[in-house]
Amino acid sequence: MIGPAAIRLAGWGFRHASRRAWAVRDVDLSVAPGERVLLTGTSGAGKSTLLRALGGLLEPESGDTAGELTLDGAPADRRRQQVGMVFQDPDSQLVMTRAGDDVAFGLENTGTPPERIWPAVDAALDAVGFTLGRDRATAALSGGEKQRLVLAGALAPRPGLLLLDEPTAQLDPEGAALVRATVVRAVADRSATLVVVDHDVESWLPLVDRVVELLPGGGTVEHPPGWRPAPLRLPARRPHPPGEQLLAALATGFTHRGSGTPALLPTDAELRAGRTLAVTGPNGTGKSTLALLLAGLRAPTTGTVRPGPALTAGLRRPDRPPHRWPAGELVQRIGTVFQQPEHQFLTGRVRDELSLGALRAGAGNATAARRAEELMERLGLALLAEANPFTLSGGQQRRLSVATALATSPPVLVLDEPTFGQDRETWAELVALLAAQQDGERALCLVTHDAAVVTALADDVLTLGRPVGVP
């Protein structure tokens, strides 16, 4: 153990190879040993780049560096053994199949003698409060538990600097709170300096000493103690009188083939024209499964999903349930926005992406193109018309995926975690976009963990609970 690290950046900047603009520039920052710093800034301000630089992970050949960056007076790539780092997605950080082996992985890499590894593993598991034991299979853990294990792996070599890159962005509120509590516990003795990047600024504020904002044009601003981020912009709420029933789930449940426990217990839900239904509840209660059933993408294993007459009008076989409708008829009636927008992109241009749905549904080229123009204008995507959907930023991809679902004007729109992992700006943009879709004709179904989204948009709330006896 070497003790907490001191960070010093002087006029530091980095430009990725093949890019003309600097990802970060003119950063002057000193962090004292043991200090806890929250690093904020809008998307694309270079927070992750700076964190990688501190972790010594920016290869010199991957871009140009300006100024100076040192940990305890030495370049960061010479101090890599002193740094522990945690990223967003727990599934792409765990290496081993058992909890204890995974925590040991970092210690093995640094050549720690085997007889010193297991005491260090136990100490790290204890420090993060992981009580499920060394032999627990990593694949069977919840997102929050996995991330807690990743944190133990980062802490096991007793780093002098702990870097967290959006460690809670992919977790539900329960998991996020677990990870934050774990971090507090781990750095309570100030044995490590802490730098956190997270879009959920408010939750980290009580846990840090300082807040430093990276400015998009370069440089930093240090926020004074007691600073709070600007409140979320919420769209004005309008009353939404319930219209005709468009879709109803009647004791609808789902069990995966070969699985003993149901993914969704029999549930009733209804979607009415003009109303927005929010589906909430802890992880593992089948929220996303319910969304897939309502969206006509999976067949329920118990109960039925019954479409109303307004939805079945014009179908070739109106007697069939939504999951048996041909895809071309489905897109005109029920639009779905998935959690991972990239899964839904099918073309190489934003413009083509938006005309595709209309073409599939049988509209002519001219109509489809006109509809695409109109949507791009309305959703602020006009400047990106020729861009490749896969190269857009996370927020832009989200907007595009909502736009693609709207392209065929379906009366029902089902969205799975539309604001998941978004920064405040994008969040406000998306909520405003969804509020604009709430009109007398359309029913929205939002599956979400995000209490603020429920407050901003929901007319009705369905809270799914865990079945008794299932953890």
Binding site: L57, S92, N109, P114, A139, A154, L330, L346
Partner: protein, 255 residues
């Protein structure tokens, strides 16, 4: 789909007591003999030995055995059928040739199935790096990549549903299904590469392959049992070849 691919820590079965490198040595022996032999008797005898080990690999229940081996049985049946239907032989000779091929395929692949069923992948990587000096970069890199396979299966399903939600579905059209399949595969590949890149960065951040000589927390020990296991495999090979020669069936492929 995910069951034969699932990569949890394997629950210990009697065969797990044998070090993975001893099991691999036995597999190499058996494979060598099977590749040389061209008759029906040799694979039949070795298959009997394989089958005797099935309960020790925790596959004693027929349902478990079938779950692990159906792709193998399917391909063995395919090989036999191709031989009978398209081979140059006629009548009983064709059937015998088909049966020989099917038996060889099963006898060749079954030891591998037993190894996978009885061996924790982490223990395999440990044994390979400790005893056979396989590069740790390769062994643990593969291990980390293998962990992502079940995630890919889930992702495949999600991409397929996302496409239906966009109005893209093959219906009964085979050309459209082929195009849809390639599109889905491409989306999956893009996702897999991104995930693999993130995994590589995370492993990098944990000091993997940083030039320091890696230690192994679990270690991997060879015991007398491992020696006996390899000797047993050699004996089984010897018995199989002897039986084949004595029955006059022996016809090595290189003769």
């Amino acid at each position: 789909m995910s069951a034969p691919l699932s990569l949890g820590p394997a629950r210990p079965v009697p065969l797990s007591a044998v070090n993975p490198v001893a099991q691999l040595t036995a597999i190499v022996l058996v494979t060598g003999v099977l590749l040389i032999s061209g008759d029906l008797v040799t694979p039949a005898v070795l298959l009997v030995v394989d089958l005797a080990l099935v309960p020790a690999a925790g596959l004693g229940r027929p349902a478990d055995l079938f779950r692990r081996t159906w792709p193998l049985l399917f391909s063995a049946a395919g090989v036999a059928w191709v031989n009978v239907a398209f081979g140059s032989l006629e009548g009983a000779a064709a059937w015998q040739s088909g049966a020989t091929w099917a038996l060889r395929v099963v006898a060749l692949a079954l030891p591998g199935v037993l190894l996978v069923a009885a061996t924790d992948p982490v223990r395999l990587a440990d044994a390979l790096t400790v005893h056979w000096r396989v590069s740790t970069r390769f062994a643990y890199g593969s291990l980390a990549a293998l962990r992502l396979v079940p995630l890919l299966a889930a992702e495949w399903e999600s991409i397929r549903l996302a496409r239906r939600a966009r109005g893209v579905e093959a219906g009964g059209n085979p050309v459209a299904s082929a195009r849809l399949l390639s599109g889905t595969a491409f989306a999956l590949l893009v996702g897999a590469i991104r995930r693999a890149t993130r995994l590589a960065t995370a492993m990098d951040a944990r000091g993997f392959d940083s030039g320091v000589v890696r230690t192994n927390a679990r270690g991997s020990v060879l015991r007398p049992l491992d020696g006996w296991f390899v000797a047993g495999a050699a004996a089984a090979c010897a018995v199989a070849v002897t039986a084949s020669v004595l029955t006059g069936a022996w016809s090595p492929v290189f003769s």
